[in-house]
Structure formats: structure tokens, C-alpha cells
């Protein structure tokens, strides 16, 4: 079931002595394993919900289980992404995508939890196409939507539009909004992460890195975090040139 760990296939990871341990490789390959296990776990949760729909919908404990498993899974995907970013092996393979389809597929992934939490989701994307790397954006949106699910009261909204020559994808919720300290515009550097606060904003760093990998001419992608929007809660935007 698990894909071969491409990270372990790299001959240059073998160090000069058999005893020395390349910790980043061990970490990466373990993360890969955990990610696959969580994938199985999430599948089982989905099945349980399908089989016992009425019992589990609205059960806070079951929803927490699913939300947290999803969150860990997203974290691990990001961790692998950041590993590749560090290895300079991550680049954006930009193609033209049809936004309504792309956003529909994303919302579909979160359908079970939306149902469980009783949250109403809407998508607003005109008949537009945009240029981006779908895999990288998937990582960012999964994480952001999952986050919005956690903080929203009853609604989330996914949007896509062209603004000032940029494609802007937005994730809005009707929750409390981001705390002052997290609101931010532009790109994040690795140094700006605070590993002491508990919330490292690694997800934001990943989102910001993915945005930064998208370039066109001298324009670069970026993220914006603020509050308000149509739903009045947290409002995440990723701007792609």
C-alpha cells in the first residue's frame, strides 16, 4: 500500500560510516510511513461515518477524532514538502486549471467533516481558469480549509477571482478570526517562525513558501491573513501571479 520512499532511494544519503545516522532521512521516511497510516485511519473514519451516519454526525468526540487525524495528515504532508523545499527539490509545475472544478474537488475532500460539524460550505468561482501547481495548492488549501472548519461557527466560503492581475484564492469562515499577532501580509521567512509559542505557524510558512514558488516575470505569489470578509471571521488569501 505504501509507495516506495523516494527519500530513501537516494544513494548520497549513505554516510561515510555505517554507524552515522542521517537524521533528516530517518525523519522523512518515518513521516512518510505515518502519513500513510493516517490515510488508512481517515478512510476507516469515513467508512464508520457512512455506516453510522446518524449516530456520529454531530458527535463532538467523533468530529474531533476526524478533525485531528486530518490535521496531523496535513501537517505531515507539509513537513515532507518543507523537507523537499530544503533539499531544493520542490518547484512549481504551473499549469492552467479550471477553478470551479478545482475548488469543487477540494470541498469534496472535506465533505464528511462538514457534514459531521453541520457546517454549510459555499464556493464562489466564476467561469475562470488560473495558472498554478495543483499539487502544491492542494497542500495549502487542505490545511487552510481544515483550519477554517475548526474555527468556524456554521459557514465557510471558498472563493476564486482575478484581482489586480493576480489569481486570488480565499478561504473565509464565520468564527472569531485570527488573533492580532497572526495577521499578516506578504511572505514569511523561516527565521520568523517562533518555535517557543506552541503554535509555530508552520502551516503558514508552508503556504507562504508555496506562494513564493509561483512566479511570473518579476511578480511573486504571497499570502494575506486578515479578518472580515463576507462571513466576518478569519479570511485567508493566497495571491498567485
Amino acid at each position: 500500500m505504501t509507495d516506495p520512499k523516494d527519500l530513501t532511494n537516494r544513494p548520497n544519503l549513505a554516510n561515510d560510516s555505517d554507524q552515522s545516522i542521517d537524521f533528516s532521512m530517518v525523519l522523512a521516511s518515518t513521516v512518510h510511513d505515518m502519513k500513510n497510516s493516517l490515510g488508512m485511519l481517515l478512510n476507516s473514519l469515513d467508512e464508520l461515518r457512512t455506516e453510522h451516519g446518524s449516530t456520529f454526525d454531530g458527535s463532538p468526540r467523533f468530529n474531533t477524532l476526524q478533525y485531528e487525524a486530518e490535521r496531523m495528515h496535513n501537517d505531515l504532508v507539509q513537513l515532507l514538502g518543507i523537507y523537499r523545499l530544503g533539499e531544493k527539490k520542490l518547484s512549481a509545475h504551473v499549469e492552467e486549471h479550471y477553478l470551479p472544478d478545482f475548488l469543487d474537488e477540494h470541498m469534496a475532500r472535506h465533505a464528511p467533516l462538514l457534514q459531521g460539524l453541520g457546517i454549510e460550505a459555499s464556493i464562489e468561482a466564476g467561469d475562470i481558469t488560473g495558472f498554478f501547481d495543483a499539487d502544491l495548492l492542494t497542500g495549502v488549501l487542505n490545511n487552510t480549509i481544515n483550519n477554517a472548519l475548526r474555527y468556524s461557527r456554521s459557514k465557510i466560503r471558498l472563493t476564486a477571482e482575478v484581482r489586480d492581475g493576480y489569481l486570488v484564492l480565499g478561504v473565509e469562515d464565520d468564527g472569531e478570526g485570527y488573533p492580532e499577532s497572526m495577521q499578516h501580509t506578504g511572505t514569511l521567512s523561516f527565521k520568523s517562525l517562533d518555535f517557543n509559542t506552541g503554535s509555530t505557524s508552520l502551516g503558514l510558512f508552508f503556504a507562504s513558501s508555496v506562494a513564493g514558488l509561483h512566479r511570473e516575470g518579476n511578480r511573486t505569489g504571497s499570502i494575506k491573513l486578515h479578518n472580515g470578509g463576507q462571513l466576518g471571521g478569519g479570511f485567508f488569501e493566497i495571491w498567485l501571479p
Binding site: 500500500m1 505504501t2 509507495d3 516506495p4 523516494d6 532511494n9 537516494r10 544513494p11 548520497n12 502519513k35 500513510n36 493516517l38 490515510g39 488508512m40 481517515l42 478512510n43 469515513d46 467508512e47 457512512t50 495528515h73 504532508v77 515532507l80 514538502g81 523537499r84 531544493k88 527539490k89 520542490l90 518547484s91 509545475h93 504551473v94 499549469e95 492552467e96 486549471h97 479550471y98 472544478d101 469543487d104 474537488e105 469534496a108 475532500r109 465533505a111 464528511p112 467561469d127 481558469t129 495558472f131 499539487d135 492542494t138 497542500g139 511570473e216
Partner: protein, 545 residues
């Protein structure tokens, strides 16, 4: 999602095949498909069953896990289904994977699936993805049908009609259009498709396509520059490495081509055709260690692949036989042993192919001789000789390899006779003649070949620097290793004539020239160096008259 009853109806009509080695996952996918409205769903646990099922049944949608445990993986299944024409272009093949970076893991050079499904998968996702792909299939069916019929002009005109009407599938249409023009050899229209895209935006697939057109137009420098930049910005774009290596090969920059392929293989080691390309380039570079490594991996990746071939085993056996030669040490013995093992497995695995036994024995013969087992080698040689004497229709590749063995076991005369006959029979095949000439020039192991080539390079450098004495010395030393090398003999003659012209008091250089040119007597007219040989012979005649 509001059209779910219409969709359920669409799902209901189609046939599905789920391939996964985990029963849980098979069952769970079936349940999801059923919930979408599907009904005709077959579940299988391995590649063999999958291929058998597709042989006797039509499948519209294949959902195949990439990793199927031991044996064939999802990519192998896809390749085999496409190769055996068991899957129509209008069917859908979806690769299910836990991996988010597809390029690196699969890294296939061809045969891409119609889509990927990244785990974990839930019903809503599956439904959404299938709806998108089925819509696309429906919209593009007329085009795919013409491509299946190889009616490319019609497919092109359909693409052109669809482009303004169908923004949703614009990328597919443009890629297909560029590809179709390219297949038809209409390079200027292909270039225009990619240029138009690139003018709007720098997209890697369009840059790759543009480079491919440049290469086909023989604008090697430009193609190589384009591809280098593409890799610079997209170090994980495997197809760009492959194409760059092709370009460098065509430029004659073989060692650079080898480096590029080695880089690609570090990142994506599982593509058989890439390993094979590396093996061939390393061979051309006389980097036999690297060639043997790459052939080893090619052979091993072939175990479950449709691209598996006796040729890979043979090439590995040949590389190992070279490594086993010329040196009398434990490593050489190991290589020779491995060569015999590989040839043995080749005979077993490809027992149904008629020439495999003969080809195997040709290599075995020189390996045994190299290991000092002269009696066994002699016995094998006798059987080979009998076979060649009785069958004049043996193909040129096999004959060339036999000539190599003849040289190795010290039967130089027989080897030259064989190659002479071969050259006569195939006097209009330039590629083959080149290979015959190369073997006649350098009928020695790769270490000696390298030694001779290095000395030749030194000689040329000295000549260019005006140091005629050093040049003559280097060429003379090289000729000790490969005495019959045509261009090398002519190089020496050229230098010696210059030495004589600079100081005509000694006639010694002229005598040496005579001896070198005598060696080349009987050089056939079609030889690439023939004109040079005649010119230098006449010049010498003029000086000695």
C-alpha cells in the same frame, strides 16, 4: 453536485476495475463507487489478475493502486495494458497513490495515467474527480477516437474547433495539438502552438515541447540552452533531463549527457528506459563501470516490466565481460562470474527466442578465455564456428559480437575476414559500417582503448601547440596499443611529413610513413578515411619520387 441523479445514471452505465493488494481498500473503494451509483465493479488483488481481466472484459474506468506489494506495480499494469491494447484511449486509468510528488516516484518516460487520486480518498472526492474526468472524456471522445485511428489531421482540426469553445480543457487541447503536429512532422505549426502559449506565460510543459521541436529541427544549441534553464527552475522535472540528455548526445557531448542522466537517476531511479539510456551513454563514453551499473538496474527493473528484453541481459553480460578482461585480480574474476550468471539467466528467461543461445555463447566464449579456461573456450569457439559456417544469414549485430570474440581469443585474421565480408554485404549501411570500422580500429578491451584514446588526445594537443616531436611520440605509443587504427596511422603520417618538411636532411620520417601507410593497404573505398589515405599516399609518393 445538484445533478446527482443524472450523474448516478452516468456512473451506472460504466464498468469499473479496482486493483489493490489490500482487501480492505478494495472493499472500501467498491462501497464508494456503489454510493456514486456504479454497479458493475470488479475487484482484483494483483497485476496478473488485472491484466487477465482486461483481456476478456471491457473496462471503462480502472482504479489502480501504485504499490501492489511484491511484483508488478501500478505503472507496470498501465504500461502492459496500453502495450497490449487492452485499454482504449477513451477508457480512464486512475493511479491511486499515497505520494504527493508523482514525478519522482514514478518518473515514467511515457504512459502517464489519465489522473491521480491521492489518498486518503472519500466518496465525495472520488465522485467529484470521476465526474470531472468523465465529462472531459465525453468532451474529448471524438478527438481521442481519431487519435486511436491515427487520423491525426482530423484530430488536429477537431482540436482547433474545440479550443475557442472549450476553455475548461484548454491545456489538454493545446498539449495534444502540439503533440499531434509534432507526430505529423509539421514542426513549424508545433512550434507555433508552444510559442503562443509561452508568449502568454512561461509554462514548463510548453518549454519542453518547444525544446523538442528545436531538437527535431537540429537547433541543438538552442534546445540545450532552453532545457538547461528549464532544469534550473524545475529541478524535479524528469522529462526535461531526458530530453536534455538526448540533445547533448546529438551534440556529441556524451560525458555531459551522462552527468545529466546520473543526476536524474538520483532523483527518480525507477524508470527503466532512463536507466537504459544512461547505460548506452556510459558505454559510448567507455565508462564501463557506470554502464554495467546502469545495465544491472535496467535488468532488475525489467523483471516486471513490458520493456524487459534479452538485449539488456546481453548488454550487461558484455559490459561485465569487458570488466573481467585485461586484469588479473579478484574483481575481474567476480565480474566474469557475474557475466556468466547473467547470461545463464538470460538463456532461461528468454528460452523461446531463437538467437539468445548463440548470443550468450559468443560472450561466454571470450569470458572463459579471459579467465584462462582455454579448453572450454576452445570447445565453445568450435561450436560457434560451425554455426557461423553453416548459417550465412546470421544478423550483423551477432556477427559483430562474434568478431569481437575472435579478436579476444587471438584469431585476428578470422575476425578481419568476417568483418570484411560483413562490410561488403552491407556496403550501404553507414551506421553498421561505422561500427565495423570502429572494431577494426580498436579490437581491444576498454582499458587499452582508453589508454590509446588518451595518448591520441595528447598527440593532438601537442600537434596543435606546434610540438611535432611530442605529437609523433604520442601517436606512436598509441599505435603500439591499436596498431591498425586507421585515422591514428594517418595522424602519425601527417605529423611525420611535417617533420620532414621542416628538416628534409633526414629521410627517416618518410620511411616510417611508408610503413604506416602499408598497414592500411586494402582500405576499402567506402571507408570514411579513404580519401585522406589516398591524399597522404600521393603526397608521400611526390616526396619520395
Amino acid at each position: 453536485m445538484s445533478e446527482s441523479s443524472y450523474q448516478a445514471d452516468a456512473f451506472h452505465k460504466l464498468t469499473y476495475l479496482v486493483i489493490d493488494d489490500f482487501e480492505n481498500f478494495r472493499l472500501s473503494l467498491r462501497q464508494m463507487l456503489r454510493a456514486c451509483g456504479a454497479d458493475q465493479i470488479e475487484l482484483v488483488g494483483n497485476a496478473k489478475q488485472a491484466i487477465k481481466y482486461c483481456t476478456y472484459n471491457h473496462v471503462d474506468v480502472v482504479l489502480c493502486d501504485y504499490n501492489l506489494g511484491e511484483g508488478k506495480n501500478g505503472q507496470h499494469v498501465l504500461e502492459e495494458l496500453r502495450h497490449k491494447n487492452l485499454l482504449r484511449r477513451s477508457s480512464l486509468f486512475l493511479m491511486v497513490t499515497a505520494e504527493t510528488s508523482k514525478q519522482m516516484v514514478m518518473g515514467a518516460r511515457e504512459n502517464q495515467p489519465d489522473g491521480y487520486l491521492t489518498k486518503p480518498i472519500n466518496r465525495a472526492m472520488l465522485e467529484q474527480r470521476l465526474i470531472t474526468l468523465l465529462d472531459q472524456r465525453k468532451a474529448l471522445l471524438p478527438i481521442n477516437r481519431e487519435i486511436d485511428r491515427e487520423n491525426y489531421p482530423e484530430a488536429i482540426s477537431l482540436c482547433l474547433q474545440a479550443l475557442p469553445r472549450n476553455p475548461r480543457h484548454k491545456t489538454w487541447l493545446l498539449k495534444t495539438l502540439g503533440d499531434l503536429y509534432f507526430r505529423l512532422g509539421d514542426l513549424s505549426h508545433a512550434a507555433k502552438v508552444f510559442d503562443d502559449v509561452l508568449q502568454q506565460r512561461e509554462l514548463s510543459w510548453a518549454r519542453l515541447g518547444r525544446s523538442q521541436v528545436l531538437l527535431a529541427n537540429r537547433s541543438h544549441d538552442q534546445a540545450v540552452a532552453n532545457l538547461k534553464q528549464l532544469i534550473d527552475t524545475h529541478p524535479d522535472y524528469m522529462e526535461a533531463y531526458d530530453l536534455l540528455a538526448d540533445g547533448l548526445r546529438q551534440q556529441g557531448k556524451l560525458s555531459e549527457a551522462q552527468q545529466v542522466l546520473e543526476q536524474a537517476i538520483v532523483q527518480s531511479p525507477n524508470a527503466l528506459l532512463r536507466q537504459k539510456q544512461l547505460a548506452e551513454v556510459a558505454e559510448a563514453n567507455q565508462d564501463i563501470d557506470a554502464a554495467a551499473d546502469a545495465w544491472r538496474r535496467t535488468v532488475s527493473l525489467g523483471t516486471h516490466s513490458i520493456h524487459d528484453s534479452a538485449d539488456h541481459y546481453l548488454a550487461l553480460g558484455q559490459s561485465l565481460s569487458e570488466l573481467g578482461e585485461d586484469e588479473d585480480n579478484a574483481e575481474a574474476v567476480e565480474h566474469a562470474t557475474e557475466a556468466l550468471e547473467i547470461l545463464g539467466s538470460m538463456e532461461k528467461r528468454f528460452a523461446d527466442q531463437p538467437t539468445v543461445g548463440l548470443r550468450s555463447r559468443i560472450v561466454q566464449c571470450r569470458v572463459l578465455f579471459g579467465q584462462g579456461q582455454h579448453r572450454e573456450a576452445e570447445a565453445l569457439h568450435n561450436s560457434l564456428k560451425a554455426e557461423f559456417d553453416s548459417n550465412p544469414l546470421i544478423d550483423p549485430d551477432t556477427s559483430l559480437d562474434y568478431a569481437k570474440t575472435l579478436f579476444r581469443v587471438g584469431r585476428d585474421g578470422d575476425a578481419r575476414d568476417l568483418l570484411g565480408r560483413l562490410a561488403e554485404q552491407h556496403s550501404d549501411e553507414t551506421e553498421l559500417l561505422k561500427r565495423i570500422e570502429a572494431l577494426l580500429d580498436e579490437p581491444v578491451g576498454f582499458r587499452q582503448k582508453l589508454k590509446a584514446r588518451n595518448l591520441t588526445r595528447d598527440g593532438i594537443k601537442a600537434f596543435e601547440a606546434g610540438d611535432l616531436t611530442a605529437a609523433a611520440a604520442a601517436f606512436t605509443e598509441a599505435l603500439v596499443v591499436v596498431p591498425n587504427h586507421t585515422s591514428l596511422n594517418l595522424n602519425l603520417v601527417q605529423v611525420l611529413l611535417k617533420i620532414y618538411e621542416a628538416d628534409p636532411t633526414s629521410r627517416e620520417p618518410l620511411e616510417q610513413c611508408r610503413a604506416r601507410l602499408d598497414r592500411l593497404q586494402g582500405l576499402p573505398e567506402q571507408h570514411r578515411q579513404h580519401r585522406r589515405y589516398i591524399a597522404l599516399s600521393q603526397k608521400l609518393k611526390g616526396l619520395t619520387a
